[in-house]
Amino acid sequence: MAIPTYASPLERVWHYTYLTVCTLIFVFLIAPIIVIIPLSFNAEPYFTFTDRMLSFDPEGYSTRWYRSLLTFGMQNPESTGWAFWSDAWTNANWVKAAKNSIIIGVCSTVVATVLGTLAALGLSRPEMPFRRAIMAILISPMIVPLIITATGMFFFYSNPCELLALIGFDPQCGRLAGTYLGVVLAHATLGIPFVIITVTATLVGFDQSLNRAAASLGANPRTTFFKVTMPLILPGVVSGALFAFVTSFDEVVAVLFIAGPDQQTIPRQMWNGIREQISPAILAVATLLVIFSIALLTTVELLRRRSERIRGVTPR
């Protein structure tokens, strides 16, 4: 934004002060994320720049913390070649955590996306009854403090049939706490609001007469959905799914309360690492996660632009 030609000297000074302030705020936003990247290559177990790092001495940098991510938990970290990698794949704690995070993330994303997209389709129909109240309920997992959600789930998942027993049934059902299914259900619940929000936002610009046109040309509801509706709302669905995946991938409170030792995820491993004894290996994980989020952000941005182009919504 340019300064108007009629600006007084004082306004010019103010304008440049304003730009400086904005720059400083941008630094505040981004610096904490950038600074951990060089620090994760520190050769020493410190959390600050050593003198050797500042003088760009190659000796000051190393990839030892990245290596320690692989070797932590391995049975034979000294081995080489194929043996090293297969050992890391099966035994290394961080690798196991990554596998768990991905399994749980993908499963909960599928549940959240399928249910959430269906519901968003219903919610954006003009004839939907109690629209606002239902929307408020479906969004609430995002609003209710996580600790309350996790506490509630802790009791419920420890004995899911307790309520059935109250109304006279006494079925025997196992625990959901400490199982993959339990964590997946919990994470799906937490991811659903994001799917609803992004898909309904896509459907705002959706022309309902397209559906009627398809029907009048003889398409049955299923064909209409897959051939007409779905391709148009797909970018919204995919970014909703990405939001749901990130929510699960980053979630630690519910995992702490309901997961068992087998469902160790990356955030939980990080949480333990930070609480017990923080080592620069945490920074190596953090760096990898930052790269991961840059990739996700790029995908979402590309999808958003594509969606705007398809629907002919010009960016304002």
Binding site: M1, A7, V21, C22, I25, F26, F28, L29, I30, P32, I33, V35, I36, F47, T48, F49, L115, A119, G122, L123, R125, M128, R132, I134, A136, L138, I139, S140, V144, P145, L146, I147, I148, T149, T151, G152, F154, F155, F156, L185, A188, T189, I192, A201, V246, F249, D250, V252, P267, W271, I274, I278, A286, V290, S293, L296, L297, E301, P315, R316
Partner: protein
């Protein structure tokens, strides 16, 4: 007839009534109004059926569990279920009745039965919630009575421990003899009952919960204010720059938004600690001495800095989307009419940003009130919020009823704010990125 010509519906009605039946019908003879109602009902049902699976899912995995958890805040049968006889005596006597022989007999028999069933610990824990220090009285007595207890029971129990004669203990047992109790809510607002059952404040050094609630709301307000101060200029800059530049700068806002919460918290731990980057820079610049490094983490400052950073995008994004729609001509018009740039901003621009400001501020405040992870990691003891106390009761002291009572109060305030948000902004206007 002139009127009918102006109103097309009237014309149809006239023609239709001319046909004879008086009402319009569809091809298969159903009255039009009923056919319309019928098809609308079907459309409503279809829309609802699409939402139903998710609604059921959320109710089962989210609403019911929270309701079940909250039920624990006023329902605790740890005492009443394991001490049935003395509970029955309490039920049959007036409040404040001194324990008679029947009461002592009931108590003794319950203690023996409970000690044999190994549930005496549960009973003691339940009484301990209302009267700290009594758990060991129950467990120690339980160990002794398992070896046998002879009448007269009053003397026998008093011989084991004098504390059994304490009227306050009997008052507490009376209140625990029904499973439904409001005592956990009383405790959550630093109140307790004396031996006559009157509500009074707890002792000075035990008043922690109100302080904690107050601190939670105060810190959330401070954080909301800070996100506003930092977010407003950024949102304004992004909204007034040409689209291409602002899209580039937007990445700087969205990247933190997409980055893991734990990563951002970790980086603040690294930056703020005493041997960390910021202190190093300050020492290097000579602003502070090497032996006077600032303590910026593991206290309230750490919580405020890290949470402001984490919640800042939630303020910037709604502000930005509102500011984009503000027509710059209004400010120019104000200037051309003689307003200074400050007046034009204050009287013309700022009022138009209020919807975005309201949405952002409420969202940040709601999220801040329930924050757990960040205060737990960087808050030390002075930066803990109410969520951390709930977690402490869940995993540390195992006083689940107390955790549920605190959770109910926290949830209540969050839901009030959420309701307000829905009234003022509307949940369907929530946007991400």
């Amino acid at each position: 007839m002139a009127d009918a010509a102006l109103d097309p519906h009237a014309a149809i009605a006239t023609t239709a009534s001319g046909v004879g039946s008086g009402t319009l019908t569809t091809a298969d003879g159903m009255p039009l109004a009923r056919a319309l109602a019928h098809s609308q009902r079907r459309a409503r049902r279809r829309a609802f059926l699409l939402v139903l699976p998710l609604l059921a899912f959320i109710l089962i995995t989210f609403v019911v569990p929270i309701g079940q958890m909250l039920a624990r805040s006023f329902h605790n049968d740890g005492f009443s279920a394991n001490m049935p006889q003395v509970s029955a005596w309490f039920a049959s006597t007036e409040h404040g009745t001194a324990p008679d022989d029947a009461a002592w007999t009931a108590l003794a028999q319950d203690l023996v039965a409970s000690a044999d069933a190994r549930s005496i610990g549960v009973v003691g824990t339940r009484i301990n919630y209302d009267m700290p220090g009594t758990r060991s009285l129950f467990t120690a007595t339980g160990r002794q009575v398992r070896r046998g207890l002879e009448p007269p029971y009053q003397e026998a129990l008093l011989e084991i421990n004098e504390a059994w004669g304490d009227p306050r203990l009997w008052s507490v047992m009376r209140s625990a003899s029904t499973p439904v109790t409001a005592n956990f809510y009383l405790a959550a607002v630093d109140r307790t009952r004396d031996e006559d059952g009157n509500i009074q404040q707890v002792e000075e050094q035990q008043r922690i919960y109100l302080t904690l609630f107050w601190r939670t709301f105060w810190l959330s307000a401070v954080i909301t204010g800070l996100t506003f101060i930092l977010g407003f200029p950024i949102a304004h800059l992004l909204a007034t720059l040409p689209m291409r530049k602002s899209n580039l700068l937007m990445i700087l806002v969205l990247l933190p938004f997409w980055t893991s919460l734990l990563v951002r918290t970790t980086s603040w731990m690294v930056l703020l600690q005493q041997q960390g980057v910021i202190n190093d820079i300050l020492v290097w610049m000579g602003i502070i001495g090497g032996d006077a490094r600032l303590q910026m983490i593991y206290n309230r400052t750490g919580t405020i800095i890290a949470m402001t950073h984490i919640l800042l995008p939630f303020m910037i994004l709604p502000l930005y989307s509102v500011m984009r729609t503000i027509n710059p001509a209004y400010v120019r018009a104000a200037r051309s009419l003689g307003a200074t740039s400050w007046t034009a901003f204050r009287r013309v621009y700022f009022p138009q940003t209020l919807p975005g400001l309201g949405a952002g501020a409420m969202l940040v405040f709601i999220l801040a009130v329930g924050y757990y992870i960040t205060p737990a990691l960087v808050g030390g003891s002075s930066g803990q919020l109410i969520s951390n106390m709930i977690a402490q009761h869940m995993t540390g002291t195992l006083n689940w009823s107390m955790a549920a009572a605190l959770a109910a109060l926290l949830l209540g305030s969050v839901l009030i704010l959420y309701w307000l948000y829905d009234r003022l902004v509307g949940v369907d206007n929530l946007k991400l990125g």
